[in-house]
């Protein structure tokens, strides 16, 4: 292992340790009801994401490929999700949702540490351009879907507390239902656009590799199904007023389909 590779690996480990530390801070924050621990958790997330960004910039500056293996794409997803959380904290007061965001962040990082074969995009000619765009858009849409999913879960938790008339504890500190619903809708909207790009770039890559845009494999079927479900949600929300509880339940079908697609894609 070269010196730069071991440095990269060490910094990845450091970022992972910071995320785990943040998770610990948030856990203790809920047990001990100390807002200071919450602030420490947020700072740890911020620091970890800065370390990851520096890593990407460092790689780019030193002439190394930005994404060599699947691990790098998972790292990209993790840092985008972490930064989204930080931005939501400062703009929409998502402070109490730390653990809900750190769960997928840690999962993405764990996946990034699982040894996998290099994708060798540079050698995947003739469709390497499509593949690169395909993978980047997948791993950018993934954290945005996570934001939508976490917002949806938060909405349901808060709504249940309000409806049952026992608004207390951690959930009572969530942003309002209107804010959660808005974040949920907007993130699905952005993820949907990226997902559309995923489908087109995937079809382009398939054409390069097989000579056909449509191959009819499971991935393509699930992609179209997910896209349709998300499109139905976005359309119904605007035309039929499917906002709030009903719309969120429908969006879960879209999430499930995307998750299944992702698992199929990985395997």
């Amino acid at each position: 292992m070269s010196h730069s590779q071991s440095l990269i690996s060490g910094l990845h480990g450091f970022a992972m340790a910071l995320y785990l530390l943040a998770t610990l801070f948030y856990l203790l924050r809920h047990i001990l009801s100390s807002t200071r621990l919450g602030a420490l958790g947020l700072r740890s997330v911020l620091l970890a994401s800065v370390v990851q960004i520096i890593l990407f910039i460092g790689r780019f500056a030193s002439g190394l490929p930005l994404f060599e293996t699947l691990s790098d794409y998972f790292q990209l997803s993790a840092v985008v999700l972490a930064m989204s959380y930080v931005v939501l904290c400062f703009t929409k007061r998502f402070y109490s949702a730390g653990l809900l965001f750190l769960a997928p962040i840690n999962l993405l990082l764990i996946l990034s540490f699982i040894p996998n074969e290099g994708l060798s995009i540079s050698q995947a000619a003739p469709g390497h351009g499509y593949l690169f765009l395909h993978l980047v858009s997948i791993f950018l849409s993934l954290p945005i879907f996570c934001v939508a999913f976490v917002s949806a879960v938060m909405f349901l938790m808060l709504e249940q507390k309000i409806k049952s008339k026992h608004l207390s504890g951690l959930v009572s500190r969530f942003p309002s239902l209107a804010v959660l619903e808005e974040i949920h809708y907007r993130s699905i909207y952005v993820a949907f656009l990226l997902f559309t790009f995923v489908i087109f770039s995937g079809a382009g890559y398939a054409k390069m590799m097989t000579g056909h845009y449509i191959t009819g494999d499971l991935k393509q079927i699930l992609s179209v199904l997910s896209w349709v479900l998300l499109a139905v949600f976005l359309n119904f929300r605007v035309s039929q007023g499917w906002q709030g509880h009903k719309g969120i339940i429908l969006s879960f079908a879209g999430f499930a389909s995307v998750l299944l697609l992702f698992i199929v894609g990985l395997t």
């Binding site: 409806k163 008339k165 608004l167 009572s172 309002s176 239902l177 209107a178 007023g241 709030g244 509880h245």
Partner: protein
């Protein structure tokens, strides 16, 4: 220097008495001006709110200061007899004053535990006194610390969290549903007092519009003339419901047609945008089944009361933690204050002994001219050591003994060693 407090509050005096004794800003300034340059009351601050009127003073002569304050503040209001005043007026001295002000500033002494207004009122009272140059080192130190303690308690406890009144609970819930209430439309059905109370809280959030309805249209019109909103006939209810976000109801009896089917159609016509219904009627105006309708949130008076009681209980628990913080802060403050109060005396005492030592050394050395320079240095060090050893215990006692706050020890030392002359 000692602290003195005279006051009445919501616990000791009925509102009529408090109204009589309260002072507006001009009256406070005038009272502060009365004591300008006073030897008996050199430092003064007046805190006058709707729940308390308190006068804080720093004085060397607490008894004289008390009678002077009573004479200038109370006697013009209640007359020379002070009739009934002794039952309602509390007097505190020394660390009791410190503890009381810390509790007041942190809103532990407020009618509504943990309310936020009082800290600002304490700050304003202090500001007014400072502008009139009515405070000095002692009250500055006391009020600065009280405001610091209030801030500390706010950040370290949850004393001010959660709504403890029906109105604020309604606003809190509305904000949990809608976020900002600035562009929200409100409908008040029924003109009962409780409905107006909750509406008052909501209007403070700069809502977009308020529609008023009542079975008697004249009553709705009355409220409209008072600036509460726009009156409409109750027959328009079904037309208005799809256009509003929050409905407050407080009528006699139930709405007959307000069932799930009716509201499902209402929700459809409003494209499922959330609707918050606060049923303030007794008996309830709205069937509880409505809470099963999507995006419709229904709370009744009992639900709101439960929210406020739960929060009050939490605040009571937090008050215990806040009380511990205050006890510690009072102890720390008083120790620092005592050390500070004795500091001029300690300095004067040291100076006096040093002067005596140098004078006597000079006299003796003039008689002992045969001594070498080294011998003279030995004697110099010897006398210094004697003085230091003699002063060690009294100085430690001045710095550490809490009793010296009452100035007895300090005054005794000043008299015994004529330190006032030295200080001057």
């Amino acid at each position: 220097m000692n602290y003195l407090l005279l006051g009445v509050n919501h616990k000791t005096a009925p509102v009529a008495m408090r109204e009589k004794l309260s002072l507006d800003k001009e009256a406070v300034q005038s009272l502060l001006g009365t004591f300008s340059g006073s030897r008996v009351v050199p430092e003064l601050t007046v805190l006058s709110t709707c729940n308390r009127i308190e006068i804080y003073a720093a004085t060397q002569e607490p008894e004289a200061a008390e009678s002077e304050l009573i004479q200038k503040w109370l006697q013009p209001v209640v007359g020379a007899s002070n009739a009934g005043l002794n039952d309602v007026l509390y007097r505190k001295k020394g660390d009791q004053v410190v503890s009381h002000l810390f509790r007041v500033a942190a809103s532990l002494d407020s009618q509504m535990l943990g309310e936020n207004q009082i800290t600002g009122q304490v700050r304003d009272a202090y500001q007014i006194a400072m502008e009139r140059s009515a405070t000095g080192y002692y009250l500055n130190k006391l009020f600065d610390r009280a405001l610091f303690v209030a801030k500390r308690i706010k950040s370290e406890t949850k004393l001010s969290e959660g709504s403890v009144s029906i109105g604020s609970a309604g606003v809190m819930l509305a904000k949990k549903i809608f976020g900002s209430l600035q562009n929200k439309d409100i409908l008040l059905v029924g003109t009962g007092k409780i409905g107006q109370l909750v509406l008052k809280y909501l209007k403070n959030e700069n809502v977009k519009s308020v529609t008023l309805m009542n079975r008697s249209f004249d009553k709705a019109k009355d409220l409209e003339s008072q600036g509460w909103g726009v009156a409409r006939e109750i027959t328009d209810l079904a037309k208005v419901l799809p256009q509003v976000d929050i409905v407050l109801t407080s009528i006699q009896g139930q709405f007959q047609n307000w069932d799930q089917d009716f509201f499902e159609s209402i929700m459809e016509s409003r494209k499922n945008s959330p609707l918050f219904i606060v049923d303030l009627g007794l008996p309830r105006n709205v069937s509880q089944d409505l809470s099963e309708v999507d995006n419709l949130y229904l709370y009744n008076l009992d639900d709101l009361k439960e929210v406020t009681e739960e929060n009050q209980e939490k605040r009571n628990k937090e008050a215990l933690t806040a009380g511990d913080i205050i006890d510690q802060e009072v102890k720390d403050f008083y120790e620092k204050y005592v050390a500070f109060d004795a500091l001029p005396t300690i300095t004067s005492l040291g100076k006096k002994f040093e002067q005596i030592r140098q004078l006597e050394m000079e006299k003796s050395l003039n008689k002992l001219r045969h001594l070498s320079e080294q011998d003279k240095k030995v004697i110099e060090k010897l006398t210094q050591a004697i003085v230091n050893r003699v002063l060690q215990d009294p100085i430690l006692s001045l710095k550490n003994k809490r009793e010296s706050a009452d100035s007895a020890v300090v005054n005794a030392l000043k008299k015994l060693f004529r330190l006032d002359d030295e200080e001057n």
